[in-house]
Amino acid sequence: MRRKGIVFGTLALGVTVALAITACSGGAKSTGSGFEACGKHPTTCNSGDRKDGGELTWAISAGWDSWNKNRAKGNSVYLAEAVQGILPQIGHFNPDGKWWWSRDTLKAKPKLVSKNPQAWKYELRDDAKWSDGTPIGVDDFIWHWYSLTSDKSKCGDCDPAATSYGDEVKSITKDSSGAIVVTLKKGSYDPDWLTKNTITYPAHIADKHGKGWKTDPKAMAESSKWFSDNQPDYSGGPYMIKSAKIGQKETLVPNPRWYGKIKPTLDKLNLLVVSSQQDMLKALDNGELDGAAPESLDPDVSEQATGDTGIRSNLAPGPGWEHFDLNVTNKWLKDVKLREAMLTAIDVDDVNKRTYGQLTKVKRRDNYLFNQKSPYFKDTFAGSSMGTGDIAKAKKMLSAAGYKLSGGKLTKDGKQVGPFTYRYLEGHAMRKTTSELVQGYLGKIGIKANIKTIAASQLGTVLDKSDFDIVEFGWSTDPAFTTAPQQFWDSKSPSNFGRNSDKKVDTAIAKVHSTVDLKEAAGFANDAGSLVAKDAYILPVVTTPVLIVTSKKVVNVRDNWASQIRALYNMEEWGIKK
């Protein structure tokens, strides 16, 4: 009996080890189909063996306008989703927030070879090739760099989507061992170097449409424009585009020359734009769709999906987070004491309980950049009363700052404080509830808030012109955090919608890019966050939950908050359940 147990035990151990070895890119073992295990096993939940063949249709929330995601015009999450299957990767963030360097493209983990000037190298696998058989090489890295720089001597008109990488690179070369070495300019540091995707489009195809792009900025611009205007017939990823109607739908088929370990088993993977979440859910019920990870959370759809036994659904913290911003250019709100008291009066836990808490478990967000699971998380608001809803304390703070509360009205020097205009995006059910709650909290300290919604077509104008006193909206972040502080808080940043200007914050932000060490950079980012918290003009509320829905026939599909393309991060693993 005991021997039998040992035999079975050994067998079970063997199976487990085999599963662990053959499991998906996270390298962990399967935790079965369904989303139940996603909380504990985010990289392996809903996994299983795949049938050969089959067709899946995945809904994406909006269309895309071009094919080149390196250009500002056209760059969007939706384009990233559309080209995910055909572009090679250096790696990706897994759903546990950890970076996975691509064993498909690289021989070894990228190595930092010099700290000043900062340089790192990639060793490419010999069989990493484009679909026409051309090896992926140094020119692909150079083309990517040129396409993302504002340096007109490299590209005349590339309309770069971002320049934080391209403008800091000094050179990209091939060393004697054949490894690709990226060297930054002296004094430039990028703590996120490991998680940078430094290749996108094929340089040899660029050469056909912009001959001599390496030395001719005009030719470089022509190649960039060509990639933008033409549907890709090339691939460096697991799939190829079979057919597409830009902005509407795309059909992917396996790339026969895909060099990765995990090969797609699907005959076809369709990406279809379905902007209405209600329609998406109905189509899923009707067997026309196999899944979706809608960009925003519609509480009605979430409830319907949860109650729908014919499909699988999961609600979990996503990449976005809600926050209140106060406009410090308002004559009253320029007083930090008043701002602090107002944010103290707001009860974030109560807001969360009455909004997203109705759908799933949510916690107050206590850090601007890192969620609670991040190794760099630090409670930025520890010891602060902001967000506690402590009305007595808020009143005390106001009184100490010379404000008087009488007859339900707050005054200073005989003048009534406010009223303030509170704004949020029209049609957003959770923000509507929040606005009414905030109105109530502020009313308790004698401040009147007039709610005025923002039409979707006016959101850009309202934020750009800071046409609000208080606004609630959302930001999206991923674990690569080092660019966010400058984007959110820098005095000159167009995204600093509260228009706070604080030299101490600017100095702290600059420190984030003064090191190549990610942990040290995270410390600097947290320091900057603490200073922002002291300025009391942005109050994080909650990491917004997001929904994923799939049919029961699909396996290896799971949400990924750490990637902008969410569930599509491992699309080569998707398949029909065996």
């Binding site: 770069p160 026309e288 000159k492 995204s495």
Partner: protein, 342 residues
């Protein structure tokens, strides 16, 4: 009649211009694509900066750096443009969606998708309306008349979006009962039908067409069936029908040759107009069934503040309405010799 038609078309030109001016103003005032683009760039920015010149370039590309009257004039004439705009030159202007989505190509691609839906829905509505209208009239104040009248008024009273949602639910329920997908609820076709056989492609189109067609035709059917019933009743009560009956002509012949033929005149003139009406209903139906037609295009264009795209839709649909009105008037004169054009 030819002169009458020309006169009508000439009168339509100032109507179209006035409508386009008003629409242009509304679309332009209701959104600010430049601010939206700035927000998009700000949210994409990794260093807190918007790429130099990007916003100006975007505005200049869409002529958004010019005043509203200037833009309208450009749209109409193309004078002062870069050669990519000017209705009189056959150019619809640049789209916010970029050069990969030229407005003219989008409209022509989507026109056939919408027209297919509208045409089939209208034809089905008219045919069913004629049959039910005639039955209602012949069986006036009997059970069948009351039942058809009830159905007609119900369809008239329910808004298209509500009917469409109900039909969609019913289609899904029917599929679940059948255990297979017969009726589709999104798109005009499946995402990729390139490897389907001819029969497979036809079946796919029909499967996608049924529910939206039903949703779109019900409203038109309800109105048309009331017309048909009234017309048939009027004819049945006329002297020449009574005379035919008095002469001993068989009832079937009276109905077919004398009554039905005459009673079709109002519905024949109503049909072109109902195509125009169905076009507006198609905007809602396409939105609900995710059809990549002109209706969905104009909705998305309005949301994005893509004024030249909205103008293109309004122009095409406006011309269709004018043409439908003209055809209706001409048809009336042709069917009824008493009508003379002056």
């Amino acid at each position: 009649m030819f002169i009458y038609a020309i006169r009508r078309l000439l009168i339509a030109i100032p109507v179209l211009i006035a409508a386009s001016m008003f629409s242009f103003l509304l679309v332009d005032l209701s959104s600010d694509p430049v601010a939206d683009y700035k927000l998009q760039l700000a949210s994409q920015s990794t260093n807190g900066e918007i790429p130099k010149g990007a916003v100006h370039e975007f505005a200049a590309h869409l002529y958004l750096d010019r005043s509203v009257p200037e833009r309208y004039w450009l749209w109409l004439t193309g004078i002062g443009g870069r050669g990519d705009i000017g209705l009189l030159r056959g150019k619809f202007g640049p789209s916010i969606l970029g050069d990969n989505n030229p407005i003219g190509a989008e409209i022509s691609d989507r026109f056939m998708i919408t027209f297919r839906l509208v045409l089939i829905a209208t034809l089905a509505a008219i045919v069913i309306a004629i049959v039910t209208g005639v039955i209602s009239a012949v069986k006036q104040y009997r059970r069948v008349d009351y039942a058809l009248t009830f159905v007609g008024f119900l369809a008239l009273a329910m808004p298209t979006f509500w009917i469409a949602a109900l039909i969609k639910e019913t289609g899904i329920w029917a599929n679940q009962q059948a255990g297979t997908t017969i009726f589709y609820t999104i798109g005009a076709t499946s995402p990729d039908t390139s490897d389907y056989s001819a029969m497979g492609k036809a079946g796919d189109i029909v499967g996608h067409l049924i529910l939206p067609t039903l949703a779109l035709m019900l409203h038109g059917y309800a109105a048309a069936s009331r017309y048909q019933r009234a017309a048939m009743l009027e004819v049945l009560d006329s002297d020449y029908v009574r005379l035919a009956r008095a002469k001993g002509v068989r009832n079937r012949t009276v109905m077919r040759r004398h009554a039905l033929r005459t009673s079709l005149t109002p519905i024949a003139t109503f049909a072109p107009l109902s195509i125009a009406a169905a076009l507006s209903g198609a905007i809602i139906v396409e939105r609900i069934f995710n059809w990549e037609g002109m209706g969905l295009y104009v909705l998305e264009s309005i949301q994005k503040g893509d004024s030249f795209a909205v103008m293109a839709f309004l122009l095409v649909s406006g011309m269709l309405v004018i043409a439908a009105n003209l055809v209706s008037d001409l048809l009336y004169g042709w069917l009824d010799p008493r009508i003379r054009y002056e």
